[in-house]
Amino acid sequence: MDFPKNLKYTKDHEWALVEGIVVTVGVTDHAQNALGDIVYIDLPETGKILKSGDPFGVVESIKAVSDLYSPATGKVIDKNTRLADDPSLVNKDPYKQAWMIKIELTDKSSLETLMDCEAYSKYVASLK
């Protein structure tokens, strides 16, 4: 299982790449593996205001529907439209090609509850 060091993580298995006031969001390798073949993704329109922990979309495997939760408080300024046509990118490349949304931070302290790579690895191991 691959959890890049430069990312922050939620307990709901989203990752966050923080670059200045822009946070890029996706789901982790653990999440894509647990979900199995991903066949549908619903993402918010740009402009949507999210609070940390708010559901921002849905990812569906063949069997199950799972909510996506925002790791940060801010405004959605971009979404990955490629995922609508090829949701399987989440399985193939969860950290690069399958980024989901970009959030412009309005409250930087909302990132404080996120885990680093080490803490998230331990958290995932504890789930087994």
């Binding site: 199995g36 073949d37 066949v39 549908y40 619903d42 849905v58 569906e60 495997s61 063949i62 069997k63 529907v65 609508a84």
Partner: protein, 372 residues
């Protein structure tokens, strides 16, 4: 506490993702649902279905007893015939759907849903007890722990099964079976039955011989593109065929008429449990009809989602099963629509997916038709 099938260690060895299903620890998938689904459609898939329940009904009264307990006409079955059947309650609800195998003049094997095995067995015993003066020579046994059941399904299945048995498979047509040895020693029921819409077999062997047969089938099947398939693919395969699943399309409160299973109910035979209630439903017309839907816009319909008229104003039904079809690459569903909605194929409707009404269209079923 989950039960383990005889193939539990095989699933572990194959990296199957094990889940609890009806009290059994079984793989939902090995490599991936889509991959496994397509292997079954295009080549061959191997399934551990040992969780299914096997109930033996034997004795001189067995035929008359089952004719009374089940809805289909079993009296017309010759030895070696398999038949899809239903067990209903007095109100005409479906206790379970099952396959009956006639092994002898007085010997029958009922294969039932895993999660219903105890309920079915108790019901059958109760019927026998209540009518013990009518059915005097009857022996009923829950033989589920005795069998490993392996399904090998797909166009190439026959090529593989041919190599593990001397039985002449050419004469075993769809919904027939024979009792022969496999691997020259293991006694088996070799049935041309299944739940995928493909040609194929279900093999019943003694519980402990399961791993040897499983490995042999995988070995021989390798050159035919065989893949072990989990419960996930089993579900998507049956949805593409609109095969009903207990707990989704049928239940103790569902009439077979509503579920489109009138063909499994022999209303012209002598009295059987549920007959008068089912007859009434048929005469009055069912309150709802089970239909196929295909999504026009994005979204996957799931069990319990509401179905509306095209304009979104009137609720006309509910989804019972839905998935992204791996064969068709479209989101499909099975749904009950109220009889007030005049069903025809190709009519636009809408499915409420998380509060948004998404356009869909009624679709003839099965969704998938095999090309051979």
């Amino acid at each position: 506490m989950s039960n383990k099938t005889a193939l539990y260690e095989e699933h572990q060895r194959l990296n199957g993702r094990l889940i609890d299903f009806g009290g059994w620890e079984l793989p939902v998938q090995y490599t991936g649902v889509i991959d496994e689904h397509l292997a079954c459609r295009n080549a061959v898939g191997l399934f551990d279905v040992s969780h299914m329940g096997e109930i033996s009904v034997n004795g001189k009264s067995a035929e008359a007893f089952l004719s009374y307990t089940l809805t289909n006409n079993i009296r017309s079955m010759p030895v070696g015939r398999a038949q899809y059947n239903l067990m209903c309650n007095h109100l005409g609800g479906v206790i379970d759907d099952l396959v009956v195998y006639r092994r002898g003049k007085t010997d029958f094997l009922l294969v039932v849903n895993a999660s219903n095995t105890d309920k079915d067995f108790n019901h059958i015993q109760n019927v026998a007890k209540t009518h013990s003066s009518s059915f005097t020579e009857l022996s009923i046994n829950n033989d589920s722990p005795k069998y490993t059941q392996i399904a090998i399904q797909g166009a190439k299945a026959v090529n593989i099964v041919k190599q593990v048995t001397n039985a002449n498979l050419e004469v075993i047509k769809n919904y027939w079976f024979c009792e022969e040895r496999v691997l020259n020693k293991i006694p088996a029921i070799i049935a041309r039955t299944g739940y995928t819409g493909e040609d194929g077999f279900e093999l019943y062997v003694p519980w402990e011989t399961g791993p040897e047969l499983w490995r042999a089938l995988l070995d021989i099947g390798n050159s035919f593109g065989i893949k072990p398939c989990g419960l996930g693919a089993r579900d998507t395969l049956r949805i593409e065929m609109k095969y009903p699943l207990y707990g989704h399309e049928i239940s103790d409160n569902t009439s077979p008429i509503d579920a489109g299973l009138a063909w499994v109910v022999a209303l012209d035979k002598d009295d059987f449990i549920g007959k008068s209630a089912i007859l009434k439903t048929k005469q009055n017309g069912p309150a709802r009809t089970l239909v196929g839907l295909t999504m026009i816009d994005r979204g996957i319909p799931r069990q319990g989602y509401a179905v509306f008229t095209d304009d979104g104003r009137e609720k006309i039904g509910e989804i019972t099963s839905g998935t992204m079809s791996p064969s068709l690459r479209q989101a499909i569903a099975i749904a009950y629509l109220n009889s007030s909605f005049k069903y025809a194929p190709g009519v636009k409707i809408a499915v409420d997916i998380r509060g948004i009404k998404i356009p869909a269209i009624t679709t003839p079923t099965p969704f998938y038709k095999r090309p051979y």
